[in-house]
Each structure stands twice: as C-alpha cells, then as structure tokens.
Amino acid sequence: MKKRTGVMLSLALAAGTLLTACGKDDKAADDKKFKVAMVTDTGGVDDKSFNQSAWEGLQKFGADNKLKSGSDFKYLQSNSPSDYAPNLNKLVRDKYDIVYGIGFLMENDIKKVADQQPKGKLAIVDTVVDKKNVASIVFKENEGSFLVGLIAGMQTKSNKVGFVGGVESPLIKKFENGFKAGVKMANPKAEIMIQYAGDFNKAEKGLAIANTFYGKGADIIYHAAGGTGKGIFTEAKNRAKNGKKVWVIGVDRDQFEEGQPQGVTLTSMVKRVDIAVQQVSKDTKEGHFPGGKVVEFGLDKDAVSIAPHKENVSKDALAKVDEFKKKIKDGELKVPKDDKEYEEFLKTLKK
C-alpha cells in the first residue's frame, strides 16, 4: 500500500513538473517583449541616491511601455560586492535585453560578465568600460557643480566656501573643479577650502571637517562624499540651532529633507540617473544600443541640474544659474573637469 502511494505520488509530481515546464515554454514562445533589468550595488533601491533614481527610471520606462514589474523589468539587489557578478550573469542569462550595473564599483564585474556573455547587452553607470557590448553612462557632474558653485559664490556672506569630497578620484574631481569654477565665476574674491575625507562612509570625519571649515569662517559647504556628508549636515544643523547661518549644498539628489528641520540645505546638485536609464533603454529598444560607446549626460539633456527645492536660493542667483545654463548648453562656456582645465579656466577669467 505504502509503495503504491509512493509511486502515485512520484507520478503526480513528475506530471506536475512536466506540465509546468510546458507552461513555461508556451510563455517563452510568445514573450517577445522588450525586457530591462538592473543590478543595484549594496545600497539597494531605496538608498535615496543613484540606485533609487535608476530604479525610478526603469519603473517609468516600464510604465511607458506597459511592461510588467518583476518579470519584464526588475532589479536584483546585491547584498555584498561578491553578488555583483552572479546577479549580472543571472539577468543576462534570463534574456534581459539590457542589464544595467549601477555604480562604478561594478566596473570589474561588468567587464567579466561582458567577456563571458558576448551576446548580452550591458550598461554601467558612472564609469567607462571599454567593451563592445557595454554602454557606459557618465554624467557631466562638473556642469551641475558649476551651477551650485554659482549659487554658493553669490550667496556667501563671508566670501569663504568649502568643498568636501569622499575619496579623491577623477570622478569626484569633476565635482570639485566644476564647483570651484562656478564660485570663481560668480565671486572672484571668494576663498575655497577643499578637503577629501578619504572615505565615503565616515560621518564623524565629515563632522570634523565641517567643524573646521565653519570654524574658519566658511558659510557654505558643498559635499560629494556620500555617507560622510551626513556629518556635515549634523554640524551645520548644530550651528544653525545655535543661531549661526550656515549652509550645506547636497549632492546626487535633492537633499532638502536632510537639512530639516533647521533648513540648512541651500540647494543640491541633482544627477538624474533616471533620465539616463530611460534614454538608454529607449535607444536600445529602438535598436540603437550604444555598445562600446560612452554616453554623456549633461545639462543639454537636463540630466544634471539644481534641486527642485529653491526657496533658499536668492532670485539673483537663480537668474545667474539660468544665464549660465544657457551659455553651457550653447557651448559658449566649457566647464573644467580636472585640475589642468581649471587652471586654464582661471586664466580666461582674469582676462
């Protein structure tokens, strides 16, 4: 008796498996929809930063093209850097038409997966991978930083402003030099303090640097330092509570909330990863996958800008921002992105 039940059971199971397999095949046959997916870094899709922004872009793209969340477009979360390569691999094998790796930390994994899966289409945000089947999405952070630099230059009362970077790299240098150029353009007399914390995740270092900068008389600090920037907000809020007027300029997304309740966020340099992701997905869908190319997103595509919260920015500063936005878009002004270009920029200013 027992044996027979066992046989029946296994038969039923086998039939079930076969049938489900059939079902899957049928589905795959008519499934000619365009599918997109992304792999987050360890921040996850709610990191209030570029992972979140990229996911919003995918969601928007999915809604525009009537794709189903979770199957036609989806994300895989990486809980540790060792998840990057398996996640990317899985999505490519699942026949997603384009797979995004969010963040420059995935550079090596993207390279590896691109070699292993020459037919897969990949894209990486924030860095350049020179492979035929990888599209590199980069931003002109220097242009956005230039705009917030203009605001800082116009609104500083002490003529001293600061810049705090996470780890010194060509990427963060773009923020620094764009910002410096903006400040000098609006206010040639302004003194700019620069410091790199050597870490993106040490709030206490941000706090100490902000303490030093504000202590030396700076009244506006622009940060491109990720979690280290939290310490800068803490210090600014402390000073605001004690009646001193100091500002922080946020980065990557609108950091207005971070400055509440004291309202220390002057403005933020917003990087629209969502726009970039939508654009590249659309191009790929239309058959123009920019593989092997570097796609640059700047002011011209509205992919970098100042934050929508503008109540702390003066009218004059906003006018100035609009004026220079146009100049940059028209190509009249080239914003420096490294130290050498900044030196040259300063020379043109003096003329």
């Binding site: 010194e168 995740n201 100490a208 310490g231 402390n238 000073r239 004690n242």
Partner: protein, 320 residues
C-alpha cells in the same frame, strides 16, 4: 590662524568623535575584566545604534520631542544588555570559544539590524532623526579662558556623560567590593570561587553590563554624529573601541584616554589639512597619521599590555 585657534578646533572635534568609542570600550573593559573576551563590541554597538535610531524616530512620532534621543538611549542600553545575553550564555554556561561567539554576535547584529530596518521602514536605512542632542555652551564653565573654549564650548552633553561614566566605572571596578569580585573572577576564578564568589553570576552581570555600555555608545553615535542608521553607520568603531581597551590596558580611565587619543589623532589629521605648514604634507600621510601615532604610542610609551589572566578561558568548576 594661530596655534590656540587651531587647538580650539581640534580638541572639541576629538572629544565628539571619541565619546561613542569611550562608552563602547568601557563595555569591553567590564566584560574582559571578568574574564570574558568580547569581540562582539562592534555588533553590540551596531545594534545599539539601530535601536537608538528606531526609538528616537518613534519618540518623535509619540510626541516626546527633545526627550526622544534620551529615551532612545535607555532603549539602547536595555537592548545592548539583552543582545549580550547570547554571548554570555555561549561563552559562560556553554563554555564555547569566546572569540567565535563574539564574532557570531557581530554577524548577528549586522544581519538582524539591517533586516529589521527593512521590515519596519521598508528601506535600506532608517529615516533621518529630527531630534538630536544639541551642541551647546556649558554655562559658566565655557567662560573659563582657553579651557572653556577647548572643552566646554559647543560641546555635546553626551561627551561629558561618557567621561563621567568612565570615572564611575573606574570607581566601581577599583573601589567597590563588586568591582573586586569582577577583577578576581577575571584573574583567578578558582580562588574567587573558593572565597565564596559566584563566578558564573559575576561574569553574566559583567557581560550584560558591557553590552549595555556598547549599546549606549552606538545610540550616542547616531544621536550626535550620523543622524540615522544604515548598514554602514557602524563600520569599525567597535573594533576601535576594542583597540582602545587594549591600549588602555583594560583600565577604564586608560581606555578613555586611548579613545580620546584616537579622536585627537583623527581630528588632527583632518584639521591638519587646513593649517598652514601642515597643509604642505601630502593628504595620504595625514590620513594614516592616526594609525601611525597609535602604533608609536603602543610600542613606545605604553609598555606591556597584560590581559586579565583568566580572560578567554571558560570557567570549569574544580578544574586546575
């Protein structure tokens, strides 16, 4: 910028970043003095930071206002104490390897706190807390020339709490019968037992107290420095506290001094870049300065650091 101004920048920054480490290293002192190695300080601190952020957030929701962070400290103390219990059970009652159990605690805290954050807030990090500990001038004391500027101007109350607790822990360990018991079970549990001291109970109390201190350290980090909790909020501070405890030779005041020294070295390396002359030194050298100074201090000035004799060894009755 003259020298005094520089000091006025460096010293307060050092104290701010040292306070959470002082508290956590006190937790380590209590635990190890009783003979239980506590590698789990990082995990305890992380869990305390999570509870701190969580309860400050709910405190605000419940309308506690400025009292929210203080309520969260109490919660973090309790949570840290509870969280240390598995370590106590494993290493005291079950006689497991204390290092392994401590490492397990670190993993557990990292996983659990991030998991709970995800469950509760449906996000990778807690919201920013609005009510924090305010920096302020201490009345009267901040008027003292020089010293007032260095120690009592724009300072966190929590920093003084940390220093006061260090003194209290010192007093308890060295001046009270209870402290003598803690030290004796850490040095020679057999002799202590012969004298009628309950070794197991004393060790349990010490480990749990240690957890409470580490939890408070984490919560204070959130309230004074980071302002929210995410997986990367506590990244290495607990291990720095462990180092401070060893550097301070398992002495509460020594641990405090070591934590302050770490803070000073770090704030010097940060402020250094903005000081004339020091500015000329390459950034990388300033960044490694805290670690180099620590090694120099350890090898040059501290001399031998002797752990409590029975530290790391489970106590078994009647075993020689």
């Amino acid at each position: 910028m003259d020298f005094l101004q520089i000091l006025a920048l460096i010293i307060p920054a050092a104290i701010v970043s040292a306070a959470p480490i002082i508290l956590t290293s006190l937790g380590g002192v209590l635990s190890e003095r009783s003979g239980v190695v506590n590698i789990g300080l990082e995990g305890l601190m992380m869990f305390g930071a999570f509870i701190g952020a969580l309860f400050t957030y709910y405190g605000q929701e419940w309308g506690l206002g400025a009292a929210s962070p203080w309520m969260s400290f109490v919660a973090a103390i309790v949570a840290g104490a509870i969280f240390a219990i598995p370590h106590a059970i494993a290493s005291i009652s079950l006689k497991a390897d204390q290092v392994v159990s401590g490492v397990a605690l670190n993993f557990l805290a990292a996983g659990l706190s991030v998991f709970l954050t995800k469950k509760i807030f449906d996000a990778g990090q807690t919201p920013d807390i609005q009510e924090r500990i305010n920096k302020g001038d201490i009345p009267f004391l901040s008027k003292i020339p020089l010293l007032g500027d260095w120690l009592f101007s724009s300072a966190y109350v929590t920093s003084f709490v940390a220093v006061a607790l260090a003194v209290i822990v010192w007093f308890v360990i060295y001046k009270t019968p209870f402290g003598l018991r803690i030290r004796s079970v850490g040095e020679h549990p057999m002799a202590a037992e012969t004298m009628g001291i309950n070794v197991i109970k004393t060790r349990y109390i010490s480990v749990i107290l240690g957890g409470a201190f580490a939890g408070l350290g984490g919560a204070i980090y959130v309230a004074t420095i980071s302002g929210n909790f995410s997986a990367s909020t506590i990244s290495g501070q607990g291990f720095m506290a462990l180092a401070a405890m060893i550097f301070g030779k398992w002495h509460p005041l020594g641990a405090m001094g070591a934590a302050l020294f770490f803070g000073l070295a770090q704030s010097l390396s940060i402020t250094g870049e903005q000081i004339p002359y020091l500015k000329e030194i390459p950034n990388a050298i300033l960044l490694v300065l805290p670690y180099v100074l620590t090694i120099l201090a350890l090898t040059g000035f501290v001399g031998r650091a002797d752990a409590p004799k029975a530290s790391g060894k489970p106590y078994e009755k009647g075993k020689r």
